[in-house]
Symmetry: C2
Subunit: 215 residues, 2 copies
Amino acid sequence: MKVYGYFRSSAAFRLRIAINLKGIECETELVDLQAGDQSSEAYLRVNPQGRVPTLVDDDAVLVQSLAIIEYLDETRPPPSLLPGDALGRARVRGIANLIACDIHPLNNLAVLRYLTGRLGASEADRDTWYRHWVKVGLDAVEAMMAASPDTGVYCHGDAPGLADICLVPQIFNAKRFDCPLDGNPTLMRVFDACMALPAFDDAQPAKQPEAANIA
Amino acid sequence: MKVYGYFRSSAAFRLRIAINLKGIECETELVDLQAGDQSSEAYLRVNPQGRVPTLVDDDAVLVQSLAIIEYLDETRPPPSLLPGDALGRARVRGIANLIACDIHPLNNLAVLRYLTGRLGASEADRDTWYRHWVKVGLDAVEAMMAASPDTGVYCHGDAPGLADICLVPQIFNAKRFDCPLDGNPTLMRVFDACMALPAFDDAQPAKQPEAANIA
């Protein structure tokens, strides 16, 4: 099994956490997004969208981090990354999708480059945009999680799973852009609990081999 | 069971199709996004994110269209909206997530208003932005689908499912903003096949009761 990834991609970070939590052996191939590797002919033949991560499992090529993580959860041994009940799964997927659909896509590299490039936004405007979508998104997740008896040590109960896998990279991004997180005490408590686990800590961008050469 | 929705929301449109395909009886409550109903105290108590759709099933409140659709698929009788095999599910979720994460969130109402409001973008710049993200996203889906033997009458094989549920509302949006779709023959063939089904046709924005009063 091989994963194409990049240390700073949130989506690749999610998949690294999932692979660590499930204890899967996996080869990694670097796609340097800053250098434009994602737009190379060779990579576009693997993933026509030119995004990371991509998973290659035997002859199958899988795209989109959440789809890949659900696939690994369905095909690899426990621990499961989703709750055992349908309502629990819906809650976890709801949190995961809120982050993966309504926060992260607005702040990815291609979008930020469009803002400062084609739209001529200043770096300050770009950063305000970034912080705006992080804040409205994370405040919604905070409200959902603070009010719910299903919130435990982690986003859902006392075992880490798909919601935590999406939350932690988003908090890393928020910190990188100095987004205020004082209003999100539940999320930060969960973030700290996750980061105490090697599966999360080992997956963080700064601990990937390419970080030293690129950052 | 009750769904909070709005005729023009792509995410609510997805859920309407899923409900129709599965033949579920369901009450609908209008959240008029143009009028700002989504920011009312009453609605924020239901869904702290202030987005649609929200599903209320007995005491449970579920958010995020894809999470809700997976929940209905898990808890309601067939037809299933996902393939029976893990690789098939990964492919369908990959297409669904590419649309739901990488196209639609960039073009929703809140984002377009931020562009023309806070960033002072012109309407022409806003429309160019819209068409850009539709084009790069749909071109990637086209490349994935045109190359795959798994593509059938619909996105995956010969039964409609989650990928089609995401594709059709996105094509509606693309047409509404005059995005060129000549480069997406596979998607348009699938779109036409879907729209020949009452489950899709009945769910389209113009056929919702509120369309006549609001548009």
